[in-house]
Symmetry: D2
């Protein structure tokens, strides 16, 4: 197998409003776990833009294990995210959980995210499949590759071929780390041709995949080293103030360090960076 | 611990249109994986009623791993299921996948089912939480007890306290069997008091939990032996003709044998059967 | 499948010095996690004999996760265990960890135990395979059925066909319980004929399989209900004083209750008890 | 956290007869799954030496799931491995399974390997702990970090502090790949200070960790990118002829490509290579 040839031959490039995912250029998506306020999302967006991110993430509908945890700003957060994107030139991505929200969310963001818990929410998959928006499909925490690709196929079958896969950790032996980041998924899925893999770009979320801020930089490098097309990183100006996921969120300095290391690493694995 | 005292003290009895779940009486829910035709569901319902089932299951919206597999009859199946229930006196249960269908489905069936794949589909949980219909909440294939109970809490927090938990197997070492039926969940959850467990009845689905017809009878007995409040069984007059789940579906003779064994077993564990 | 016919036809009865495992009669093995003193093992043995156990367990070589935990009395414990067996008429079983100890241990006990951690310690398996002593082979915590049966085959291939399998829980989602007791293993393994399953009796260890004293009684009943040929239970006169495994050890009263429930349950599943 | 500082500060350098593991220099261990003949091991050793390996691996005692699979040459293979090492200047490593073989094996090789199946074979751990030979301790397929480090402690407690950890994949969702290579283990273990982690170097075995030849190169790069101190690779002049593990064995050309990529990658993550 010539890894890069396979990658080049089969990757189905996804266009997020001008930012291409699946080319030789690595795409970095970053932002806070949740959109908390206009000030918060805008100031983070500016810092990320300067550091080299291309896409701004920020949750407005937050799927939380407990109904009593902070649930996000809801649709009130959408214009805040859009403003931050518009003012910085970053593309935007947010998770959609309710099929009835797909049309509304699509008006505000450049890319729709399907979270792990909803990887087999077929109603939702079909609904985003009927739009033309790029869709980031996170892997379920116990989903086999076959199940994950079949979930992507639910979107594809409706006509929307703008699909990006995102590895974010699977169930683990739960000692020290909450999930096991399965990086082998990247070269494995990219190598299979006798399946319904349709050349989707694959990115990695080391924030959820490790659950620990200190591991995000080394595992980001590992992800790029084995062929990931991009990264999805949780960043906050003060992680300890973050309303959710504070343990796995990095600050600006750590993010700048990470981007600088990815820039050094990219050419070694025949990649570039967008930044 | 006096097991039965705990059970009696804490179980939150759920009333499925007159069939009580969570009393000393074991409730048997059974039926085909999918509603396939009026003839099919009605003839199966009659056989199940005669054998001793109380609740008729039958999928109309089928969550299938592949978009190209049989997806169920959809809403056209609802009146067929209702007719079969009305003609036999069986209560009815079916899975709902789309929050927009909850109101419609609620008009046709006595109990709403949330499937494993949607255990953390919070949009859907909230929607069924706003009805007064009993809800059967299946455990996700990688859900911890804590996550499962928190998902139940999403329903409870909306005001609907008619919740039944259903163990259906978790991810396994995948050799021989697709899932590992976690029967310890039953006495464990019934024993915890320092949590958000609200005394929900717990039933077991050995059909999905083992994936093999031959294992359904022994694992049904095991489920009752360790405290399950009921069973959910896939039955078809000709399992090999079933449009889905044929390997884990039993026929009438096997179902009659199973019910007869449960009747013998119940008094040994201080239970009765409804039949 | 007629479950009992299969069981009767294929079970390879193992004779532990007169106590037969694999007949219709359920065999109960019980005792402390560790042999702690002559007084301790003898007084427990007497209580267990009276309650209805047939085989006395007691560890002398203890495989502990940390080298700094209590490691058992070592070979000094062997005569204590033998005396307790001789005085009560109970057969004895203990774990052997070192191939160099097999000959010595064989002089003192009636049955050799291979623990989970050593299920694929082929050196040890071959060594016990060269004796004529019955061997209880515990399943590894991540062993597939295929791997488990192949480990038994290492013993069988050396000429020792006196093998008993013991399910003791596999790796789990680790929330609340340390392991997941996989009871489906019993009817599944007993149903496979196209494999190297040679009709081994299968018993269940709910003490390690659940890790919680309160779950031992319900899961013991479940094990017998789905076809187990026996049980292996940790009992101590004062579990809180036990030098190891105190959380999963039951006292005499709980053990008496358990045996009395198994006696009631046995005939319902066409079994008897030795007691 | 400054990753490299932590690594530099805490790593306990292990000296394999002059080849240091745990410095800035990445160490590559490679060789066939099994020593098959003098010609085979010598010709492979020469090719590996030329390509840049420092340590020659080759199994003589092979732990195979089935007793009927090829079990290795046994002790007859030891002089063949030693000759290959002597003639090429490569250090040698082989797995030892029987505590009674430790002394013999120590006379022939430079480093002892404890395989996954024996990670909690405490008898064997203590025995190698009583030698002064470096020990490579592979992680068990279901071992938590805590359990793994405690197993290392069994060796340490006997006085042998020359311990190298080796990540080789853990139980997975078993779809496509047999194991899940847990690369997060490397930065996680290197970051913990409130534990019994004693600064052991950590290397990665992508051959067993992925089970597929095509994944070895990308996952080797990922391992080095996140901080691994070395690699353990299965190489054969004709993988399809290999008596064991042929699917996960690479040929000379692939190995040369891999080493050349590691050489390019090393300086990007502040490492060098021995070659």
């Amino acid at each position: 197998m010539n890894e890069m040839m396979i990658s080049k031959k089969t990757t189905n490039i996804v266009d997020i409003n001008g930012v291409l995912v699946g080319t030789d250029a690595i795409v970095i998506m970053a932002g806070p776990c949740s959109v908390e306020s206009e000030h918060q999302i805008l100031s983070i967006a500016k810092a990320l833009k300067q550091a080299g991110a291309s896409v701004l993430r920020g949750g407005v509908y937050k799927p939380r294990t407990s109904p009593y945890s902070f649930q996000g700003l809801g649709s009130a957060g959408l214009p805040l995210l859009k403003t931050a994107g518009d003012e910085t030139g970053l593309r935007t991505i947010t998770e959609v959980m309710d099929p009835r929200d797909v049309e509304l969310v699509s008006r505000y963001v450049d890319c729709l995210q399907i979270g792990s818990r909803n990887m087999q929410n077929y109603t939702l998959l079909k609904e985003v499949g009927r739009t033309s928006k790029p869709v980031l499909l996170k892997r379920g925490i116990a989903a086999s590759y076959f199940e994950w690709l079949n979930s992507a196929e639910y979107i594809w079958a409706e006509g929307n071929k703008n699909i990006i896969l995102c590895e974010r950790g699977i169930v683990s032996l739960r000692d020290g780390l909450r999930y096991t980041l399965d990086l082998s998924a990247i070269p494995y899925i990219k190598s299979i041709t006798d399946s319904i893999y349709r050349g989707y770009p694959i990115i990695v979320d080391p924030s959820h995949g490790t659950g620990l801020a200190d591991l995000i930089s080394p595992m980001s490098k590992a992800a790029i080293a084995c062929g990931a097309d991009g990264l999805l990183i949780e960043v906050h100006y003060n992680p300890s103030e973050s309303k959710s996921d504070s343990y796995q969120t990095i600050d600006y300095q750590q993010f700048n360090g990470l981007v600088s290391q990815i820039k050094k690493l990219a050419p070694v694995v025949n990649r570039t960076t967008l930044v």
